[in-house]
């Protein structure tokens, strides 16, 4: 293992040039951005020799750094809004972000809810910005650091103490354009003591364009609050999408997050969750469907730093064609986090001869009075079950679809209480299965 001299790739050089040009145009604290970019450039784009990126070689996958998208025109906004997602029909408080710029804030907000465009918040030095970066594990992550250096817009959302927000808040991240472009969006959500909220994210964009969204959602959830978070990745066929969710949970919090990957050439979804108060519950779940030469990575770091918390992680992956699925999950239990109960499961079904699934479920435990378990499975559909269904008269594809649907929908059934949202997301799964033919 000789030392390898780091040669800057075209993308790394491109990002450095982009940063030099754009940094003075971006809102907010320039020193902060400089610092973030330095954290990124010290190590450069992560590659397979970097343990956390072992299975997703970003240096190889990101050949060129696309320029950041400018403010969209009215025509762009109209084109983007035409991207109708399955969650659009849900009655919600909607904000639209096109090409990384918040173009439509919700018309009216219920009492106790504050939504400020990030650009504005950065410009005016909004007090909530101090809550950014609450989960330390994410800081040195390349995607997170790049986002911190380039973030252009997004939202700062505050749910006041004790507020129960009836309708979900739906953030629609839409992209449009004919040539490759990049976006860096950031959403900061502060859910105060005893408040509850449902947050939806839809990510969509044009097919055939190699655009590069890199989004971060940060949540700070105070004691006794309740958060349900659902995310749909329906990005365009050639996109390279990086996303990070960080959440810092206080005491007695109920937190659920679900991510559905139904698009994108390359995706990596990272979750950094930190339990900072006692007796909280978190469910992190997801389903991924990939085919062709798609590559989908889910990476979790669940940090049990406080006693008596429970976490459940359940991820399902279906791999078809020559696609590659990656699941990396790490549960850390600190020595003071006694009575932790952590369970992580990753299950994958390979449908084709040429698919690949890489699983790395890790446990890192320093406390003795805990229960932690992880499981990982990988295989094909059960022949007996298929035979049973076929003997009942179902054609092979239908029998497969039926089994796959029940396989993929388990994390939805386990975590999502909002029926319409659950139905809409199940619909996305059905659509993907039908498209298999």
């Amino acid at each position: 293992m000789a030392d390898i001299a780091m040669i800057k790739t075209a993308a790394e050089t491109g990002l450095a040039n982009l940063f030099a040009i754009t940094k003075s145009l971006l809102p907010g604290d320039a020193a902060h951005r400089e610092d973030a970019f330095r954290r990124f450039s010290e190590r450069g784009l992560p590659h397979r020799r970097i343990e956390e990126w072992k299975y997703t070689d970003l240096r190889a996958l990101l050949r060129d750094a696309a320029p950041f998208a400018g403010k969209p025109t009215e025509a762009d906004i109209a084109a983007a809004e035409a991207l109708d997602g399955p969650l659009t029909a849900i009655d919600s408080i909607e904000a639209v972000i096109v090409n990384g710029h918040l173009v439509r804030a919700p018309a009216a907000l219920p009492p106790g809810v504050e939504i400020v465009p990030l650009r504005e918040a950065l410009g005016s030095g909004h007090p909530l910005l101090a809550r950014m970066g609450a989960v330390g594990h994410a800081h040195d992550n390349a995607a997170y650091a790049l986002n911190a250096a380039f973030m252009s817009d997004g939202a700062v959302i505050r749910i006041a103490a004790g507020t129960h927000v009836e309708r979900p808040i739906h953030l629609r991240f839409l992209n449009t354009g004919a040539t490759p472009f990049a976006t860096a969006t950031r959403v900061l959500v502060h859910v105060e003591v005893g408040a509850s909220v449902t947050l939806l994210e839809t990510h969509a964009g044009p097919g055939g364009v190699g655009y590069q969204p890199n989004g971060v959602v940060e949540m700070v959830v105070d004691d006794h609050a309740k958060v349900a978070h659902m995310r749909l990745n329906a990005e365009g066929s050639d996109a390279l999408a990086l996303s990070t969710l960080t959440a810092r949970l206080g005491a007695k919090v109920a937190f659920d997050s679900f991510n559905l990957v139904a698009g994108t050439q390359v995706s990596r979804h990272q979750v950094y969750l930190a339990f900072a108060g006692e007796g909280s519950n978190a469910g992190i779940r997801g389903a991924t469907m990939i085919n062709g030469t798609q590559h989908a990575d889910t990476t979790l770091v669940i940090d049990h730093a406080a006693p008596g918390c429970t976490s459940r992680e359940l991820f399902k992956t279906v791999v078809d064609g020559q696609a590659t699925g990656v699941f990396q999950g790490k549960i850390i239990v600190h020595s003071r986090a006694q009575k932790t109960d952590g369970r992580m499961m990753s299950a994958a079904v390979l449908l084709s001869e040429e698919g690949t699934m890489n699983n790395k479920p890790e446990l890192e435990i320093f406390a003795d009075d805990v229960q932690c378990a992880h499981g990982a499975t990988c295989g094909q559909l059960d022949e007996d079950l298929l035979f049973y269904l076929r003997s009942r008269g179902l054609p092979l594809k239908e029998a497969e679809a039926l089994l796959l649907e029940s396989f993929l929908a388990e994390p939805i059934g386990e975590g999502i209480v909002h029926e319409d949202i659950a139905a809409a997301l199940t619909g996305v799964i059905d659509g993907w299965l039908r498209a298999r033919g």
Partner: protein
């Protein structure tokens, strides 16, 4: 069940008192100058009277090693070894190559007696009346005695120190040496390739079931010395062998390096069962001294329906860095890994296995039990992979950890990579503490807390212990009780 102060005190004090193999034998040793240069490599090769190609092989490895970097990905932290401050070869002066036991330094014989290792053929392990074990005893850098050689030879089995095999069966050694663990495999394996001194060579001819258990006992005695043993076992078509390995070292304040390479080759329908009870000196309660155990062990299931089983009980060493692996090349071959790793005091263990499924219908099974106590860190790190052609591959992995006390750590880092749809992999891991109900039940039946813990732990590791040859199972069970004594938390 948080640890009470009394317990913490006990845990702190056990390591030193527990290690009963910590004595030093006083024999005059022959050593080259400290440090590693081409001359050291030439010296070792000349001492062993090796053929020219072997020297070249070593020198190649040495030059390669100079360009390599010590790996740092394992979850262990230690002061880096100064590779120029250790002796790479140490042999007892008197009769470097003794022909019979009578020529062996009586001090060395007494050492093995003290360790309970029978070097006289009529002797048998205490408490076991029926079975006999052939022993190759390695003292620092040389093999001092190999028993039952004649009887084994009758069955066609070659069992001898590898340095002797290089002289007597050079063609066999040359054919297989470095084919499982290539010279360039990793930092420690390359170092070993350059300076390895002794170890065992085993060849089981086609269709032969080795008439007795073979075993090697490694003893590090001299200070400032590294031990670099090399073991090569070849099971030809349809043969079977069970091989045991044990190791101890004196108690010292300095850290000593043990960088071994073990290569196993199983041809068609052959089976190799390799068992280790690793009990190197673990260091004292403050983490001073102890062996750095950086070992590369790998088996190659080269033939159809071949089987390689690794069973290990790891209780010693300050640092363990060890991943006995199986390359499942032959169609229908099977790899098994059963491990108990117990860490206490300041020990750090990073161990696990790799199961590389290359052939069709290959199966593997991993059962790993980690127990951490004191302030130790215990990591399971494993890889299971199925390549494109490994249709019908099957793996089951179960790695459980048990923590005793709240100042230790247990970690699991499995990698599961599948490139074949018909490969079925299952992995499960749990971490828990000893249940209070179980402890209460045992204590209520009159067992002391310590006895109850030992009983429950023995139950926890039962699956692995059952896989050990009987002679070892008895020893391992005792070791577990000793390693955990006083650590009830």
């Amino acid at each position: 069940m948080p640890a009470v102060q009394e317990t913490i005190e006990q845990v702190r004090s056990i390591d030193v008192d527990q290690y009963k193999y910590g004595f030093v034998t006083d024999v005059e040793m022959e050593k080259p100058a400290k440090g590693l240069t081409e001359d050291t490599v030439r010296y070792i090769s000349a001492k062993k009277g090796e053929p020219e190609w072997m020297l070249e092989w070593r020198l190649d490895a040495y030059r390669r090693w100079l360009t390599m970097k010590e790996p740092d990905w394992a979850r262990v932290s230690y002061d880096r070894v100064d590779y120029n401050d250790i002796y790479y070869y140490a042999a007892p002066k008197m009769n470097a190559a003794p022909k019979t036991l009578d020529e062996v330094d009586p001090e060395i014989l007494r050492t093995y007696e003290k360790l309970g290792i029978p070097l006289r053929e009529q002797e048998i392990l205490a408490g076991v009346q029926t079975s006999r074990v052939a022993v190759d005893a390695v003292f620092d850098s040389v093999s001092v005695a190999t028993t039952f050689k004649a009887e084994l030879a009758k069955a066609g089995v070659i069992f001898m120190p590898i340095s002797e095999a290089l002289r007597e069966h050079p063609e066999l050694v040359r054919k297989y040496l470095g084919t499982v663990v290539p010279v360039t495999d990793n930092f420690f394996a390359t170092l070993n390739s350059a300076v390895f001194s002794d170890g065992s060579f085993v060849y089981i001819p086609p269709g032969v079931r080795c008439p007795m258990e073979l075993s090697t006992y490694f003893r590090i005695n001299e200070k400032n010395t590294g031990q670099f043993e090399r073991t090569l076992i070849i099971a030809d078509k349809g043969s079977y062998v069970s091989y045991l390995e044990g190791c101890t070292a004196p108690q010292r304040d300095e850290n000593q390096l043990h960088a071994a390479v073990v290569e196993l080759v199983a041809l068609d329908d052959a089976e190799i069962k390799y068992s280790t009870v690793q009990n190197w000196y673990p260091g004292d309660a403050e983490g001073r001294g102890g062996i750095y155990n950086f070992v590369t062990k790998r088996g190659d299931c080269r033939g159809r329906n071949s089987v390689i089983t690794w069973t290990q009980v790891e209780t010693g060493s300050a640092i363990t860095w060890k991943y006995p692996s199986c390359i499942l090349r032959g169609e229908g071959s099977r790899g098994e890994f059963y491990s108990i790793a117990i860490s206490n005091g300041m020990q750090q263990v990073d161990s696990g296995t790799k199961m590389i499924h290359l052939g069709k219908n290959t199966t593997s099974r991993i059962i790993s039990k980690g127990i951490s106590a004191g302030r130790s860190q215990n990591t399971y790190r494993g890889l299971v992979s199925a390549h494109r052609k490994a249709s019908g591959a099957r793996n089951f992995t179960n790695c459980d950890s048990l923590l005793i006390g709240d100042r230790c750590g247990a970690h699991t880092v499995p990698y599961i990579e599948s490139k074949n749809a018909s490969a079925v992999f299952e992995h499960e891991a749990t971490t828990s503490k000893i249940s209070e109900d179980q402890l209460f039940y045992c204590q209520q039946r009159g067992l002391s807390a310590e006895e109850a813990t030992a009983l429950i732990v023995n139950g926890f590791v039962k699956d692995v212990l059952q896989k050990l040859p009987m002679e070892f199972a008895v020893e391992a069970q005792k070791l577990i009780a000793i390693s955990l004594e006083g650590s009830v938390g």
